[in-house]
Symmetry: C2
Subunit: 402 residues, 2 copies
Amino acid sequence: MTAPLPDTRPPRKGRALPDTQHGIRRRNLGRVMHAVSAEGPLSRAAVASHIGLTRAAVSTMVDDLIRWELLEELGPERPGRVGRPGSALAVSGRGPAGIGAEVGVDHLAVCAVDLRGRVRARAVRHGSNRGRAPEPVTEELTDLIRRVVTEAERDGLWAAGLAVAVPGLIARDSRTVVRAPNLGWRDTDLGALLPAELSPTVDNEANFGALAELWLGAGTPPDFLHVSAEIGIGAAVVVDGDLLRGTRGFAGELGHVPVRPDGPECPCGGRGCLEQYAGEEAVRRAAGIEPHEELLGLLAERADSGDRAVRTALSDAGTALGIALTGAVNLLDPETVVLGGALAGLSPWLLPSLEAELRGRTAGPACPVTVSTLGPEGPLLGAAHAVVRAVLDDPAVVAERA
Amino acid sequence: MTAPLPDTRPPRKGRALPDTQHGIRRRNLGRVMHAVSAEGPLSRAAVASHIGLTRAAVSTMVDDLIRWELLEELGPERPGRVGRPGSALAVSGRGPAGIGAEVGVDHLAVCAVDLRGRVRARAVRHGSNRGRAPEPVTEELTDLIRRVVTEAERDGLWAAGLAVAVPGLIARDSRTVVRAPNLGWRDTDLGALLPAELSPTVDNEANFGALAELWLGAGTPPDFLHVSAEIGIGAAVVVDGDLLRGTRGFAGELGHVPVRPDGPECPCGGRGCLEQYAGEEAVRRAAGIEPHEELLGLLAERADSGDRAVRTALSDAGTALGIALTGAVNLLDPETVVLGGALAGLSPWLLPSLEAELRGRTAGPACPVTVSTLGPEGPLLGAAHAVVRAVLDDPAVVAERA
């Protein structure tokens, strides 16, 4: 946490490196990193054949990547091969790490992920953030961040950047939380409250959750709709392996799709929005449960033990989700819908009615629904991996620091 | 219509030319064409400064583009300038042309558009295609196509490709009409029924209508939702200047977004879909009008003359559109919604209730709704321009032919 870091923010879609010699070299450095990351350990010759460049060109790049602590040599390959023995290359377990952080309604969490994708340090603080001002919350978060960075540094890593997941609307290409109703934040420039030397980026937790699913999920296709819930209903749309962000950065507001246009009023200004049927508060009331700190766990427990009111409430929420998702599937034609976050844990009681709606409202085969295996850590992991991916995509950004 | 043509199909998003010398040169040829097309006439020096390459590199490419009949020299620039007089370059009004065709429910239409974007030949045939087999329809369409190509050839043009707009679902990256309910077609390989020497491509009319709006509309932003209607409700989503196609190619089915989940049954298998409230049939019945060939004109005429039943029917359709669009806007966060096709002509009576729903269901400023000025020709023009754009993007595709 010394010199200011280069810009590791993910590029806005369509903003690519230019077709200059320099830009092409930077792209090729990224191709080398991705080849070794996906297929490694690989010899230099194998990398060259993977990305379609000469061994000489790859060797020069690999030398730089080793100097920058992005790749490491594992020693000579097993003997018996023809020619000069090559050394297998692997993505470095030292060097740059991505710092991910999450501002949850009921907790704060931070983790460090190395270039190999392993979590190397983490810190959590439980306690409600509802209605707290952004300053004390970000102060506590910064303490956790410094603790995690120090721990990572002891392990031979250094922080290549920080990405923060927030349950709210973030203006596109900014670090401004436009609205986070469950925290009570409005038009807050979070970037100014976070450690500047880590070049912090800020994004919606549903977006980071979907990216985690894309990068870490088992067999997740490049086109899917990710639906999650903490307090509100969050969703994110991934198209051809990229997040669909929307003009203002507000895409994915599935929670405010009208399900029954004359239904109950919603704080968003609408009526009968999905959140009025499938949001945490609505389900709690329908199930006849008093406000409770660990509501999601309680719902799962009671549903599991056969509580009729809870099962009916979850089944009705599944129906509402199915109606809203029918519209979304008709508009977006995703390959699959993934239920993540809190919805994953409740899926046994949501899925039957949800899938019945999707099936019943489609002439052809219905869009398949799968359940995330990442659990509630998706947004935090997605944030840390966003920094890691930015380094893999354009490794030259860390050249000055290394 | 002699030698087989190169592939001028628009590339699947993300499939770019490779970073080889050859690929980079092809990309740069496209940049030259787009610079001259958008800003021309331009001198070679001006092109070079526009795209950030040396004058020498640009000059070699320009020579090729002139030989291929894609650019033409307008003669020496006005005197009085310092240095060797340059010759202004313009996009050619001869050479390759895009052939667009439309299979409408009540008509067939074909046009030829030159690289400057001007319509140079056209042919139309009125008459219902409802329930007719694909073979006789495509035979008639092929007659129109040959007539238009012959007319264009007399004018110094040659057909660089054919794109056909169809009111139905087209499987992605194929020419197969999976379902066109208003024609009665199902799983029809239209490519096999069209003149092979024109390398025909096939796409949904709503997609071509949206592309026309993107390329030809006045001030259309790169992120918008295009809603049109002929018989059904069609929509297309444009994100960062690209069509969002969906996994199977079926994205944009706004007509089957549930508006009132317990509403009337829809042939799609659902209930209360938008088409049950705002589709042509639904509006006709609500307005108390008997089946009629020129229904849209009749509706506009009666609404204009103050017919209460028609005005109520259109206002109710606007309400249903507003509910479905609220969901779509929440999911996609477009910069604007554009009403095109038949909806443009009926917009005076649809817009008040439509906009009231959008405003009333949103806490912040509602997404603006604009009306297309392209009229019902959008899909036909979009098809022809898709071929023209493919030539501008990758001019080398016509090198062999020229």
